[in-house]
């Protein structure tokens, strides 16, 4: 009973709290998309996946990200932040810090895929798996930092509920962007298989904004590898992502297309 009344008080309190600390204001108050963070996967000594012909994930990811950035700057009135713009090592922590410091409204992480079997091909789009992350938050501290932070006070409960609300929101918004990217990719590259999945990806969990990760083809598959080498295919992928962001911006009225 004590817990129920405590929860009720918490909910009352939450109604008066703006969860701006988690960056979800910009999505709901109509200020729209101002900053998009593009994150080319891997880099430096971390090559990522590798094709039989020596094509590296880190290089493909960077090239597509740079094209996407240029397309966005040409077509949208928007800030674009790159987590890396060259071939160097960058930890996931630095990537999330950069994204959060730039107060991004959307994170787009570009990767290529790899599979155990050489037969598997296609594009995969991932967004935050809310249930998986929630399980972690609700079950209790599951890592050392959380254990150290947990002093059992009421403020922790408020923080957990606020974070839970933010994660739910990021997951919904990320899922929406992922669907739009899937739709646009299917239109522009109709002969490519495009799969959508929710995942507990580390970078998704730690950024204060909706996020998607796109594996733009499988480096371990011969057909996909040849496509990934082709500039035209890479530009089509970037164009589909741009169109999806344009569509997403229409529901976030603040952003104007050029």
């Amino acid at each position: 009973m004590k817990n129920v009344s405590r929860l009720f008080l918490l909910l009352l309190f939450l109604q008066s709290v703006t969860p701006s600390a988690y960056g979800i204001n910009s999505i709901h108050t109509g200020t729209g998309l101002k900053t998009i963070v593009i994150d080319p996967g891997h880099g430096g000594s971390d090559k990522g996946g590798e094709g039989k012909n020596g094509l590296l994930e880190k290089d493909v990811a960077l090239e597509v990200s740079l094209s996407l950035r240029q397309m966005m700057l040409n077509n949208l009135k928007i800030n674009v932040v790159m987590t890396r713009d060259g071939d160097y090592d960058l930890s996931l922590k630095k990537r999330t810090d950069m994204a959060n410091m730039s107060k991004g409204d959307l994170l787009i992480s570009i990767h290529t895929g790899s599979s155990y079997s050489r037969d598997i091909k296609g594009i995969r789009i991932y967004y935050l798996d809310y249930e998986e992350v929630r399980k972690e938050f609700m079950v209790g501290p599951s890592n050392h930092e959380a254990e150290a932070d947990n002093n059992g006070g009421g403020e922790d409960d408020v923080e957990i509920i606020l974070r839970d609300m933010a994660i739910s929101d990021f997951s919904n918004e990320g899922g929406h962007v992922a669907e739009l990217i899937q739709k646009n990719l299917t239109e522009i590259i109709p002969d490519q298989n495009v799969i959508l999945k929710s995942m507990p990806i580390l970078i998704f969990r730690d950024v204060n904004m909706p996020s998607v990760m796109i594996e733009i083809g499988n480096l371990t598959n011969q057909d996909d590898m040849m496509r990934l080498k082709d500039r035209k295919y890479r530009d089509k992928v970037a164009m589909a992502i741009l169109n999806a962001v344009k569509e997403y911006s229409r529901v976030n009225s603040g952003m104007v297309t050029r």
């Binding site: 590798e50 922590k93 890592n143 507990p200 969990r205 499988n218």
Partner: protein
Amino acid sequence: MKRYIFVFIFAVFTTGMVGYFALYYKGSENTRRVVSTPLSIDKRDVVLYFSSRDEENLVPEIRQINLKGTLEEQVAEVIRELINGSKDLINTIPDGVKVHGLKIGRDGILSIDFSRELRENHPGGSWSEMLTIYSIVDTVTGNFPDIKKVKMLIEGREIETLVGHIDTKRTLMEKRDIIMDDKMRKG
């Protein structure tokens, strides 16, 4: 007087003997309990999780395995079977991977120290990473209810991720929604 002394000595002797036998019996019972506990050898059905052929899900494969020794030795045996792979399904552990050691700590947290091949021979790709991680986690948590969480290490060190996407710094809990059961397979 002599008779009283004799009765007294007899009583002390009898009490001593009874006490001695009582203690001896108790001790031997304890000893018997220890000795009578056999080294637990148990041929049982074990469920191993491998990848489906389309690499979308984990699929259970049941095997009869002789499990003996301590819980940690039994877990090590099951992981060895997982590493050995499947004939029909896709293996989720790359070639050449060895387990350097494992330990079950307080709160049912199993720490497994893998060799560097788990990372170096991995194809990469975030979904392949998911399949590798949860084939291990779901296999051990599914077969050993005492194990609640799994912590993965490589060459004795904590890893931020296995190949760049999934958080492996934290302890991992079972994930059942990645498993395709028989019903789903039959449609």
